[in-house]
Subunit: 154 residues, 2 copies
DNA sequence: GTGACTGCAAAAGATTTGCAGCCAT
DNA sequence: ATGGCTGCAAATCTTTTGCAGTCAC
């Protein structure tokens, strides 16, 4: 974890930004909750546990900065809030998500599923792809299992 | 166009909703601006031209209703607003978008590009796909051309 | 002391809700 | 007269901004 902080620190410095204590606390929260898809408010509450004096505006400003530096990706699952997701180290593309419409759980997929599709887009539509967002909505493993008893017993 | 209104009317009736004048005006605006990706506010302003007495809240309620009935899809390109996009007749899946990061234009892609990928998701992740959202961010045809002179003349 | 950064409070937007009235059945 | 639907205004929620104070150099 420390080396990831270091790396982010360097990224900030390379653009003459500083890794202030508030920013570091925010990054640590993101690292510690990498699997969750935290909203700004979520991050704020978690950061506040370690650094109670921090302001919500600072969290927003930090997340926006990290977003510009491509350290995090800002995503939106259609509920009213933006969520912030750390990029995996060296990940060139945004990863994909499986959102369960029953329980709301979110699973991540790191594989690059879209290589062929992107080639098609570049060739056929003449559109130069820089990034993508792919989210599947459906029913997760757990909720599928949960649904079976109700059906089979009827 | 009329037959599409009829169809939507039937869809509403089948769930015992009515196609009131306000709702019809809203649907017409959506039909007439099918290529654009209108925000609720955009729709409101356009509806107001034909039916000045309509309220913004009604537009929101109508759009939400249409969204539940899968007549429109609610999408979010990362700016702060939701946009509403008519589903093509008979379209089983949501269509895809190419968003230009230079000029902001949005192009639609009807082709189903994700058949294979969905099979993979269902098989390998055991996730039952119901719908998906795929957006590519990049540089559109026009902006690519616009960029060439600046590079080649240097 | 200068410029980057912060916290707080206020502002700005987008969307939702409460409510009284209306309209068709 | 009932229930769905509407307009308006107020409320809510997320995010941004203005500003005065702080800190590192």
């Amino acid at each position: 974890m420390e080396h990831r902080i270091e790396r982010i620190k360097k990224q900030l410095h390379s653009q003459s930004y500083k890794l202030t204590p508030q920013r570091e606390a925010t990054v640590r929260v993101l690292l510690e909750n990498e699997e969750d898809h935290l909203s700004a408010e979520d991050v704020y509450l978690l950061v506040k546990e370690k650094a109670p004096e921090i302001g919500l505006a600072t969290v927003y400003r930090t997340l926006e900065l990290l977003s510009e530096l491509k350290v995090v990706d800002k995503i939106n699952f259609g509920d009213g809030v933006s969520r912030y997701d750390l990029r995996k180290e060296g990940a060139e593309h945004f990863h994909h998500h499986l959102v369960c419409i029953e329980c709301g759980s979110v699973e991540e997929i790191e594989e690059d599923l879209l290589g062929d599709v992107e080639k098609l887009i570049e060739g056929q539509w003449n559109f130069q792809v820089k990034d993508h967002r792919l989210t599947f909505h459906g029913i997760c493993r757990v909720c599928q299992k949960a649904a079976i008893p109700a059906n089979s017993s009827s």
